[in-house]
């Protein structure tokens, strides 16, 4: 069991470290720490982190409650109505589908934050074990707008499918949805087609797709079961048809009865669309488990190097106070690594070169990983070191973990002349063409092209998780405000308009506030730029689960990169 670190300051601490190191036979010593949990900085960081976490947890609780977080009273009524029909909430369905006590890594739980869509977007996606098989589970929340698909719902659903596809995870849909969110049909209709294409592509790739239909799954939604390898329908509840009775009446003037048109019995006995007829929700979930059980699923990636990995020797609880509350204040990313990797053992590569970037090897939950972590700015040395390290990881078929805390590539005449663009290009080349799995964790700033070089979302890492203190933008708000002020002044001077710092100040402040707002972790996760904000103390668990999911697919590096500009 992970997380069994000895408490710091206890008499047994040193003993525990020695034992861990010797017992493993690993050549690396336990990492040293200079974190002082009693210090002012630590306490301030921890307080700020806990405050952000509380906000995240409150938002999550509102999503879990169901019904739509925007109007709690309406939400309560919707949930009560759902329960009155004897139906389970999506997370209850998921819990009943999963193996007892299986972990469930929920993805994008706060999608939709800051948008006009409901928080959580009426869909629950995540990874958990069914009959010992890691599955990507995607469950509609019918208490939120009847499970209708809003634009962000589509976005979140497609992201989940992408995760299933690249990591080769069997997909289980728990379907009960009113279909497209009609008032927003324009935004949903065209991208919506991708979900059906994805389903059949998953199937073509040999990734099983299973859909359990608990309620309505009509019109375009009918293709979710329609495109799946296996379909289970719940008696007297599932309704699957291209057009409901009103549309049938409009289209061909037929008076159709819903049950005959698309009931579970009809599809199980007559049309053959349904493969299994379930008596009730639990029966459907039981059947779903049976199906996953017979898939004869095998992970293609190598098994972990040890079945019983050591937890970190240093206390993960301290992760709360390490990252700076203000992203402008640097901290040593090794302190994070030391509280995440197995036995707090880390073999650092090129420790004396390019000190603003830390590279090296470790094991996490028994899986070997290469780690690339920022300690601030990317200079030429850091970029070259990182590009070299990525090539090494590809040679060894080793997944890479990126820990982002960067304000971007260095600027200035001196650095331009020394070829910072060429070196940055080397890094972006390496990260783009690397074929080993990448996982990115945002532990602080992610500004500018630093985001790209460190496997930001656009570079298709298998997973992106963020800490609540994370900030993401093209540049820092103050820099952006300053840049805009300079540009505006130059323009004013050119046009001969008198310039007043006082007059521009509110505009600059407004801009800074806007960028600040748009660069928060919540803003990013609301747009599904990442796969979720996590509690720093859960980092090891989350990364371990991600690595395990990744190993459902093969892990293979490449030697084929773009031309490195020398």
């Amino acid at each position: 069991m992970p997380g069994s670190a000895p408490r710091r300051g206890g008499a047994g601490q040193l003993d525990a470290r020695v034992k861990l190191t010797l017992a493993s036979g690993f050549v690396q010593p336990v990492m040293r720490t200079s974190v002082d949990p009693g210090s002012e900085t630590f306490r301030a960081n921890r307080d700020a982190m806990l405050e952000s976490l509380t906000q995240v947890q409150q938002l999550q609780a509102a999503v879990v409650a169901g019904g739509g977080a925007s109007n709690p009273e309406k939400a309560a009524r919707a949930v009560a109505r759902h329960r009155d029909r004897g139906k389970l909430l999506p997370r209850e369905r998921i819990a009943a589908l999963l193996d007892a006590d299986s972990p469930f890594l929920e993805l994008s739980p706060l999608a939709g934050w800051g948008s006009k869509d409901e928080l959580g977007v009426g869909l629950v996606t995540g990874i958990g074990w069914v009959q010992g098989v890691e599955c990507l589970v995607s469950a509609n929340d019918p208490t939120v707008k009847g499970g209708a698909q809003s634009p962000m719902t589509m976005h979140k659903a497609l992201r989940a499918m992408e995760i299933a596809k690249v990591n080769r995870l069997p997909l289980v849909n728990l379907t009960e949805s009113g279909g497209a969110d009609l008032p927003n049909q324009a935004e949903v209709f065209v991208p919506g087609g991708a979900s059906f294409r994805n389903l059949t592509q998953l199937s073509a790739m040999g990734i099983p797709t299973i859909t359990l239909v608990f309620g309505s799954s009509t019109a375009g939604g009918a293709y979710v079961p329609g495109m799946s390898d296996y379909i289970v329908m719940q008696k007297q509840s599932a309704k699957v048809f291209l057009a409901g009775p009103p549309l049938v009446k409009m289209a061909i003037n037929e008076d159709a009865v819903e049950e005959d048109l698309g009931g579970a019995e009809m599809h199980s006995r007559v049309s053959g669309l349904s493969d299994y007829l379930a008596d009730d929700e639990l029966d459907a979930l039981r059947i779903g488990r049976g199906i996953v059980g017979h898939l004869n699923w095998r992970k293609l990636g190598p098994p972990p190097r040890t079945a019983h990995p050591d937890g970190p020797a240093l206390d993960p609880e301290e992760l709360l106070g390490i990252a700076s509350a203000d992203v402008r204040i640097p901290f040593d990313v090794r302190e994070i690594i030391a509280r995440v990797v197995d036995g707090s053992r880390f073999e650092e590569f090129k420790p004396l070169y390019g000190s603003q970037l830390v590279t090296g090897w470790a094991e996490l939950a028994g899986y070997p990983v290469g780690i690339i972590a920022n300690n601030g700015i990317l200079f030429s040395e850091e970029s070259q070191k990182s590009a070299q390290f990525i090539q090494l990881c590809n040679r060894h078929d080793t997944p890479i973990l990126f820990l982002q805390n960067t304000t971007g590539f260095m600027v200035g005449t001196r650095y331009e002349q020394r070829g910072i663009i060429k070196d940055g290009a080397k890094l972006i080349n390496a990260v783009s063409n690397s074929t080993v799995p990448h996982v990115t964790l945002m532990v602080g700033a992610s500004y500018g092209a630093g985001n790209y070089g460190m496997a930001g979302r656009a570079f298709n890492p298998r997973f992106v998780f963020t800490w609540p203190n994370h900030r993401i933008a093209v540049m820092g708000p103050k820099q952006l405000g300053g840049v805009m002020e300079i540009v505006a002044r130059q323009k004013a001077e050119k046009l001969g308009i008198p310039w007043s710092d006082e007059q521009f100040a509110p505009m600059r402040q407004g801009l800074e506030d806007q960028v600040e707002r748009e660069s928060t972790a919540l803003y990013a996760t609301g747009r599904v730029w990442d796969d979720g904000i996590i509690d720093p103390r859960d980092t090891r668990t989350v990364l371990g689960l991600a690595l395990s999911a990744i190993h459902n697919n093969e892990v293979r590096g490449t030697s084929n990169f773009g031309v490195f500009r020398m």
Binding site: P2, A95, D101, L282, L285, I534, T541, V542
Partner: protein, 701 residues
């Protein structure tokens, strides 16, 4: 068996020599080198234990279902008797004798029950030249018929329960007069009977004639002998018996009494020594009477003289009930208080030795109580429970002896008595013995079959028992001890620990075990639910759900559905640690305790500080077999209706054919999927129908 043929020959020659010079009147020493125990279960093991200690080899005989029973493994040799029922195996004297010959046994110990009080068998054993460890056939016969035995002991001056013998042609008036002499309430008993058969309780004269006639019929059909007699029924009486021992040299001693008043269906459940109810005066008279009765028939071996004791103090009276000419089930309480080995005495007496001790050398100290652990449901009319014993573990309690006939994996078959074990507790005082024994029973681990374990512990802890208020009416007067439910709070704690233990045990082999804590969520949402069937009042089962929701500091558990508790019980689990395989240390609501949780088959045994509880693990999903889908009352394929066998209004049973359809030269029968009444028939003979065409509609009752 073949390799022991030589030994067998030697044995036979040995005993044949001995027998030729053997005469019951002139006791000579006989050697016993190999005892065949003509019995099964705990008593077979019990006899073998002493035999081994005396340097005597042992032979077990066994039926087919007992082939892997512990007593067979305890024996040095074993002989299969074949057959399954008692009649086909342990009661088949010919097979047992044949086994003795084949195994080279030179003596037979009959245990109790089966052939132990069968004089013909005893005679056959002796005729075969083997030593019979028990009284002579003549002694057994003297005691076998109740009327006979009473006449004998009355002549020896032993008081009898007021009673009357009835001639076969007794007139109604004579019957009434006899009944008035005996006094009401009275029992009509079969002379040849036992085990409650042919026994009627009559409270007044009105029903006397009918009941006697009914008892006669029952006696005739059960024992082939319609003779019945009347006996005063002593309400709230005590059953007290005196252990006697005689040897072949005329020696007779008693080994004090045992009280066995607490009975169910005329079978003893709790037995103890000394008797809490009999006065010293009664006991003194009883010992004398028992010794006198044994002397009267020149008894040798172990015997028990049973009495009924009525009244208290000065007014206490006792009456002879019957004499058992064998070792009793409850002999361990005598052993525990006297320090003697009664089986050893039986063997010594059978070898012709004098009794090891004289009366004045026999003393007893302290108190001992035996309870019989049965596979039965006390709250459900003591219905025997059969099945596999998934787990059986004697907790090894100090001052407690467990004579068990089963172990983990044993089958309790319907063919034999469902007694699993005798548990005997002893201590300086009755309170000590009761407390120790109750505690041991509370921690005795048994799963797989229902037992009276909790009921026994409840008896021992009940105020009435502790006050010594033990009469034959005890269980009728104290129904609360039949299915004692543990206090809800304790049950809740046990189930929480059970759920945690189960989770940890399962997680050991889970593929995610190294990756995440149990039930980990980044978005906490839904508790993990486990369902158990727990014992509830009146022997019923209640379905209890345990919801466990974990957080960083521990877990919250909610227990819903506890019998007699409306609101779910919330328990904070501050700490849990699991040392494999099953020890659980839990800090629940601020109180630390050590538990064990062990899964055996579909059962979970939860051992706590107070007791071991066995609960049934319920599956999380509905039983698939209950969901077998019918194919509807519709045509499976297109075809022509050739027969319509029912009409609207007909009652049909599930499986009845309603309509026959011919398609592609094959006949398809459409059958009722449930019991019900035909509401409508939607096809006619000769009609061509499509597939999935509904042919009939049933109205379910």
């Amino acid at each position: 068996m073949e390799q022991r043929a030589g030994q067998a020959d030697v044995g036979v020659v040995d005993t044949a020599d001995a027998v030729s010079s053997m005469d019951e009147a002139s006791p000579e020493r006989r050697r016993i080198r190999r005892i065949l125990v003509a019995n099964r279960g705990e008593i077979a093991s019990r006899v073998m234990r002493t035999a081994k200690a005396m340097g005597i080899q042992t032979v077990a005989v066994h039926s087919e279902p007992d082939a892997r029973a512990p007593f067979v493994a305890d024996a040095m040799f074993s002989v299969p008797l074949g057959g399954r029922t008692s009649a086909e195996s342990y009661l088949d004297a010919g097979k047992v004798l044949d086994a003795a010959r084949r195994s080279g046994a030179d003596a037979i110990h009959p245990g109790y029950g089966f052939l132990s009080e069968n004089p013909e068998f005893a005679q056959a054993v002796m005729d075969a030249g083997l030593v019979w460890i028990g009284p002579t056939p003549a002694q057994m016969r003297a005691m076998a018929l109740k009327v006979e035995s009473k006449r004998l002991v009355a002549e020896a001056g032993v008081p009898l329960v007021p009673g009357a013998e009835l001639a076969a042609d007794v007139s109604d008036a004579e019957l009434l007069a006899a009944a008035e002499r005996v006094g009401f309430p009275l029992l009509v008993k079969a002379s040849a009977g036992g085990g409650g058969k042919g026994m009627r309780l009559v409270r007044d004269a009105a029903s006397l004639v009918d009941e006697v006639s009914a008892a006669r019929n029952e006696a005739q059909s059960a024992f082939g002998d319609p003779t019945v007699f009347l006996e005063r029924y002593l309400e709230r009486s005590r059953h007290v018996e005196v252990q006697v021992f005689g040897d072949r040299h005329g020696g007779v001693v008693h080994l004090f009494e045992r009280e066995c008043s607490i009975q169910r269906r005329h079978q003893k459940v709790v037995e103890e020594s000394p008797s809490p109810g009999a006065t010293p005066a009664t006991l003194g008279a009883m010992y004398a009477a028992a010794v006198a009765a044994a002397r009267a028939i020149g008894y040798h071996g172990a015997g028990t003289v049973e009495f009924i004791v009525a009244g208290e103090g000065e007014a206490q009276e006792f009456y002879f009930l019957e004499m058992n000419t064998r070792l009793q089930v409850e002999h361990p309480v005598t052993e525990a208080t006297t320090g003697l080995d009664l089986v050893e005495w039986q063997i010594r007496v059978a070898r012709g030795e004098p009794l090891p001790l004289a009366q004045e050398q026999i003393t007893r100290s302290g108190h001992a109580i035996e309870v019989r652990l049965y596979a039965e449901d006390p709250a459900n009319g003591y219905l025997p429970n059969t099945g596999r014993i998934e787990w059986f573990a004697d907790p090894g309690w100090p001052d407690v002896r467990v004579d068990s006939g089963v172990r983990t994996g044993s089958e309790v078959s319907p063919f034999y008595d469902p007694m699993l074990a005798k548990v005997i507790g002893s201590g300086p005082t009755r309170e000590d013995a009761a407390a120790t024994l109750a505690e041991c029973l509370a921690h005795l681990e048994v799963a797989g079959v229902r037992t009276n374990r909790e009921s026994l512990a409840a008896i021992l802890r009940s105020p009435a028992f502790l006050a010594g208020d033990t009469t034959t009416a005890f269980l009728d007067e104290h129904p609360e001890v039949l299915a004692p439910a543990p206090p809800a709070a304790e049950l809740a704690h046990a189930l929480v620990v059970g759920a945690l233990g189960l989770a940890h045990a399962e997680a050991r082999h889970a593929p995610w075990a190294r990756l995440a804590p149990l039930g980990w969520r980044n978005v906490p949402a839904v508790p993990e639910v486990r369902r158990f069937a727990v014992p509830a009042a009146g022997g019923a089962e209640a379905v209890v759900e345990v919801h466990v929701m974990r957080d960083r500091a521990g877990a919250w558990a909610e227990v819903a559905g506890l019998p007699g508790v409306e609101e779910p019980v919330r328990i904070r689990v501050e700490a849990e640690s699991f040392e494999l395989p099953c020890v659980v240390s839990a800090q629940l609501d601020g109180l630390g305790s050590r538990w064990s949780a062990q899964r055996v088959g579909h059962f979970l045994m939860i051992g706590g500080p107070q007791r071991v509880l066995t609960v049934r693990i319920l599956p999380p999903y509905p039983d698939a077999s209950e969901h077998a889908h019918d194919h509807g009352l519709a045509t499976p394929v297109p075809g022509t209706v050739t027969q319509v066998l029912v009409a609207a209004g007909d009652a049909v049973s599930a499986g009845d054919t309603l309509v026959i359809l011919e398609a592609m030269k094959m006949e398809h029968r459409i059958r009722a999927d449930t019991d019900g009444v035909v509401e409508e028939i939607r096809v006619a003979v000769g009609e061509s129908v499509d597939a999935h065409h509904v042919v009939a509609v049933l109205e379910e009752p």
